[in-house]
């Protein structure tokens, strides 16, 4: 069996592109897989350099076994999911390197390379990543070209250049397809859940959770407003509503669905929300959370998107049906003043006052005493808030541990807490007094970027507050943090915890830490705005976005018209590219002097004096002069200039004079003909 010899040029690019493609994946790969990658690529490089030979059967079996065992080992037995799937792909990609015996194998490696490069976009979609992936795609393409070049003139950089030319010519076509190719909703649901990427608010809240989240400078979402955004204190981004309190943890109500259906309020209840005050139209681009809840200001209309649904709780909580696995953009309309559920179903009123049978006795006692002194529910709330405000409560990112009776410990012991301590204990005190109350988690505030008119909300903006049900008012937002640390609500967490210097203490390099440096902030906001446009128009170009965009520019678009437009635009552009490609004389243009000389030989050829193959310029001139003595002087001139330009050491020669001489020859040769 004779082995196919992959051209070295191609193989060099193959190895380089492989490293480039896998590099961004490395942090997500189990260490075993990284070892397999290093082993295979290293081994192939040694073969390439002629130091080693192909691995024997046992070495290959070793690599395969390491891969097969390494994946479940690295993901703790989880073999079903996005990361294990990518790992498997990577293993196949590098193992195939050691199995390249036919030309077809080389093609398989290259195609796998393109696919592994694609999977990178499932994790990151920023501009720098996209540019990087573009370079790796060019490298893979170079290895593809290398396979089809004649081996005698291979220069790796020339190959890469050709790859760039190909991709460059494909780029305008790609843009047309990107804008016009009909985007459709997913064909089937993907169960692939990413494990590592889960960030942000989770579906339960116990003391310390949000304080931990507040140490991250990761972006949660960006909201772009049409017109001016609401003032900072009003930016309560609702995420989840927790109505159940047990063992120190707030969670969503876990009623069985059948009960919910039975208890469902009259259809159209959303329309009965009374909306007052200013209306805000905005769209949100949510970073992938791999969870399914969405964030919105209250009170919001249901977005017109088949992926978005209102959940069963009458709590204005929205979910994404499949989970947000990549950036998700949705449009919303909100009225910050509203009245929600003025008539509260007694069943739900009851469910929002449930407390565990025992635990936290001092807090219960306190609630009983204060409630007895209060004149109304509002008065009770006021008294409790005053307590937070006047006693020595501290708003801190380092609250310290609490014992079994966490609320007692907090209210009467440490008195140090973050928003979840205040909202949790406040809701507890409300329920202890029989007032329906629930905890809301989400984000508060955000950084307004005037360059893009959007509000960027980061993980450290995570917040929790409470909603209390009052007669004739419905659900009312009460934020106990406001009573303790008004700074948090007025200007954000950074100001609120400035004294203890704990803001983003875990990420010393975060640019967000240096918001007091104005010039740095300006640059950061500019970059951020560019990224935001990218997210809005490129990453966020969803089916909904596409139909909105197209109907604005193409009018009424149906599938037929869109298809016709796509084909027409694509093929007319392809025609343009064809002109460029076919008019191009060669991939490496000849030097100008050579082009002139060729013109010269052409005009002489027309006069019947063709230059023979392999005939040097001087010999050619001699022969032509012999046959056409009347051209002798001009021919000498051209030949001298051309030879000078090509063979004299001082370089470029006189192109202008050469051009002139060539023109003279052309004229004389023409007159000679006639």
């Amino acid at each position: 069996m004779t082995f196919y010899q992959i051209p070295r040029n191609s193989l060099a690019w193959m190895l380089a592109s492989q490293v480039a493609v896998i590099l961004p994946h490395v942090t997500r790969l189990p260490v075993w897989i990284v070892l397999v990658v290093i082993g295979c690529v290293g081994w192939r490089t040694m073969i390439y350099q002629g130091r080693w030979s192909y691995p024997g059967r046992w070495a290959k079996v070793g690599f395969v076994l390491t891969g097969l065992v390494g994946i479940p080992l690295g993901y703790k037995g989880r073999v079903y999911g996005l990361e294990p799937a990518v790992s498997l792909l990577v293993v196949a990609y590098v193992l195939k390197l050691l199995e390249m015996h036919l030309k077809r194998d080389a093609y398989i490696v290259i195609l796998l390379g393109y696919f592994v490069a694609t999977t990178e976009f499932l994790f990151f979609q920023t501009i720098p990543y996209t540019l990087y992936m573009l370079v790796t795609v060019a490298m893979i393409t170079a290895s593809l070209i290398g396979l089809n070049q004649t081996q005698t003139h291979v220069k790796p950089l020339k190959t890469f250049r050709l790859a760039l030319i190909l991709l460059g010519q494909a780029l305008p076509l790609m843009l047309v397809m990107f804008v016009l190719f009909p985007r459709i909703s997913p064909l089937w649901s993907i169960p692939l859940q990413s494990q590592t990427a889960k960030t942000g608010v989770t579906d339960s809240m116990s003391p310390g959770d949000i304080a931990t989240l507040s140490k991250s400078d990761g972006l949660a979402f960006k909201a772009t407003f049409e017109g001016a955004p609401p003032r900072f204190p009003q930016l309560y981004w609702r995420g989840l509503v927790f109505s159940k309190y047990k063992d120190g943890t707030w969670t969503r109500d876990d009623l069985r669905p059948s009960v919910w259906r039975h208890r469902q309020a009259v259809p159209g209840w959303v329309d009965q929300i009374e909306r007052v005050g200013q209306r805000y139209d905005y769209s949100i681009i949510l970073e992938p959370t791999h969870q399914n809840w969405l964030f919105a200001l209250a009170a919001t209309d249901i977005p017109e998107d088949r992926d978005v649904a209102m959940v069963r709780e009458h709590s204005l909580v929205y979910i994404h049906r499949r989970g947000v696995t990549s950036k998700f953009s949705y449009k919303l309309t909100s009225h910050l003043d509203y009245r929600l559920e003025v008539e509260l179903d007694p069943f739900f009123a009851y469910r929002n006052t449930i407390l565990p049978i025992e635990g936290n006795p001092r807090s219960r006692l306190l609630a009983k005493q204060v409630f007895a002194e209060s004149t109304s529910h509002e008065d009770y709330i006021r008294r409790i808030l005053t307590m937070y405000n006047t006693e020595e409560f501290v708003y801190t990112l380092q609250p310290g541990a609490l014992g079994r009776d966490d609320i007692d410990d907090f209210l009467f012991g440490t008195k140090r807490g973050f928003c979840e301590h205040y909202s949790g204990s406040f809701a507890f005190l409300m329920r202890a007094a029989g007032i329906p109350a629930r905890v809301v988690v989400g984000y508060h505030g955000g950084e307004y970027n005037p360059n893009g008119n959007y509000v960027a909300v980061h993980q450290f903006d995570a917040h929790s507050w409470t909603e209390v049900w009052l007669d004739e008012k419905g659900w009312v937002r009460v934020d106990p943090t406001m009573a303790v640390a008004p700074d948090r609500i007025e200007s954000g967490i950074e100001a609120a915890v400035a004294a203890e210097d704990s803001f983003l203490s875990d990420s010393p390099l975060s640019l967000l830490k240096y918001r007091q440096l104005l010039w740095l902030t300006e640059i950061r906001l500019q970059l951020d705005a560019v990224g935001h446009y990218w997210d809005t128009w490129v990453v966020g170009y969803t089916p909904a976005m596409q139909s909105a965009f197209l109907s604005e520019y193409l009018g009424n678009v149906d599938g037929k018209r869109l298809g016709a437009t796509l084909l027409a635009a694509f093929f007319s552009l392809l025609g343009l590219v064809a002109i460029v490609v076919l008019m191009r004389r060669s991939t490496t243009p000849l030097p100008a002097v050579d082009q002139e000389y060729l013109k010269f030989t052409k005009s002489l050829a027309r006069a019947g004096l063709e230059r023979l193959v392999g005939e040097g310029p001087i010999d050619y001139a001699k022969r032509v002069k012999r046959q056409k003595p009347e051209l002798a002087d001009v021919i000498d001139e051209v030949t001298r200039l051309y030879v000078d330009a090509n063979y004299k050491l001082d370089g470029h020669g006189d192109l202008k004079a050469l051009k002139k001489a060539v023109r003279a020859v052309k004229l004389k040769a023409l007159t000679l003909n006639s």
């Binding site: 195609l111 976009f121 795609v137 393409t141 004649t150 190909l166 397809m177 909703s185 060729l598």
Partner: protein, 326 residues
């Protein structure tokens, strides 16, 4: 087989579209282009990427799929460009003996300064010769065609193809350069020529390397005297030939069909062929008698070839005989 009539129809269509010609320049009329197997795999990859893009609603995966598709489309143009404009020209053929490979010379010329890389030429799909027109404007290719029987060999259409630059498309053309090659009979070893020395012999052996009379050319072999090299011919054609002189041309030998009565026609011709070769290496004058044909004895390479051509085409239709050019 049902493929046969289909192929015949195709050949007919090809002949009408691209009639045989001495020189053919490739253009949109005679270049075909279709995806290769790898091109189809590549398309499947794009479809997979598109599915991933749809299911993850990931715009950048879409973008990459579109980029690869556009590259595929653009590569059609590049592949076509790498073939169109090439001129193929027949540059003659060399006669051979049946059983050996006939050589066909083909001249490739590029149009202007456009460069061509990784061209492949051949009579059959699986045995292709590579060619490039990058540094040189022209390139002379020697293509070989296996022969099995004497006569005038027409190798049929010549395949020229390229997969450059990405191997996802193959552009090709079937070119008929109207080339033929003479295939001499396969020499069959025969005994000494019956009645060999039956000429009118003057008695003296012919003395090669004489000095008196020029009698022909032969190929230069190392060790030959440079004095007798035919420099004029060399200047014209690059063939290094030696002028041969001889004294005493004195023997006339006939190679006669009638000497061999028992064998079949092909074996007879093979034996006659063998004798022609033998005698050409000697210094005898020899002639050939075939039924209906008689060629007066003579000497030299030209004479030898003339006889061999007669043997090659003996009994074949006139239209199969080579023209005056031979």
């Amino acid at each position: 087989m049902p493929a046969k009539p289909l192929k015949r129809t195709f050949d007919k269509w090809l002949n009408k579209r691209m009639p045989p010609a001495n020189s053919v320049t490739l253009n949109q009329r005679n270049v075909f282009i279709l995806p290769t197997r790898e091109g189809i795999y590549f398309t499947i990859l794009i479809v997979c990427m598109l599915l991933a893009g749809i299911n993850y609603q990931n715009s950048l995966v879409f973008a990459l799929a579109f980029l690869l598709f556009s590259t595929l489309m653009v590569s059609i143009l590049h592949t076509y460009r790498n073939l169109s404009g090439v001129t193929l020209q027949s540059a003659g053929s060399k006669p051979t003996f049946a059983g050996d490979d006939a050589e066909f010379d083909i001249n490739l010329t590029r149009a202007g300064v456009r460069t061509y890389e990784a061209l492949q030429l051949g009579w059959q799909n699986d045995d292709l010769t590579g060619a490039d027109l990058v540094e040189d404007e022209q390139c002379l290719l020697k293509l070989f065609f296996p022969t099995s029987q004497r006569g005038v060999l027409n190798p049929g259409r010549l395949l020229i193809q390229t997969r450059y630059p990405v191997g996802l498309f193959r552009a090709w053309s079937w070119v008929d350069l109207d080339m033929t090659a003479i295939v001499y009979p396969h020499p069959v070893v025969a005994g000494p020529l019956p009645g060999a020395l039956s000429g009118t012999g003057d008695g003296d052996a012919l003395q090669r390397d004489g000095v008196d009379d020029f009698y022909g050319f032969r190929d230069y072999q190392s060790g030959d005297s440079l004095r007798h090299v035919a420099w004029k011919t060399y200047a014209r054609s690059d063939d290094l030939l030696l002028k041969e002189f001889a004294t005493n041309v004195d023997r006339r030998v006939w190679i006669d069909w009638e000497y061999l009565s028992g064998d079949g026609i092909e074996v007879r011709l093979g034996k006659l062929c063998y004798w022609v070769i033998q005698l050409a290496a000697s210094q005898d004058e020899y002639g050939l008698r075939l039924p209906g044909i008689e060629i007066e004895p003579g000497r030299g390479l030209e004479h030898r070839n003339k006889l061999l051509v007669e043997l090659a085409t003996f009994g074949l239709d006139d239209k199969d005989k080579p023209g005056e050019s031979l």
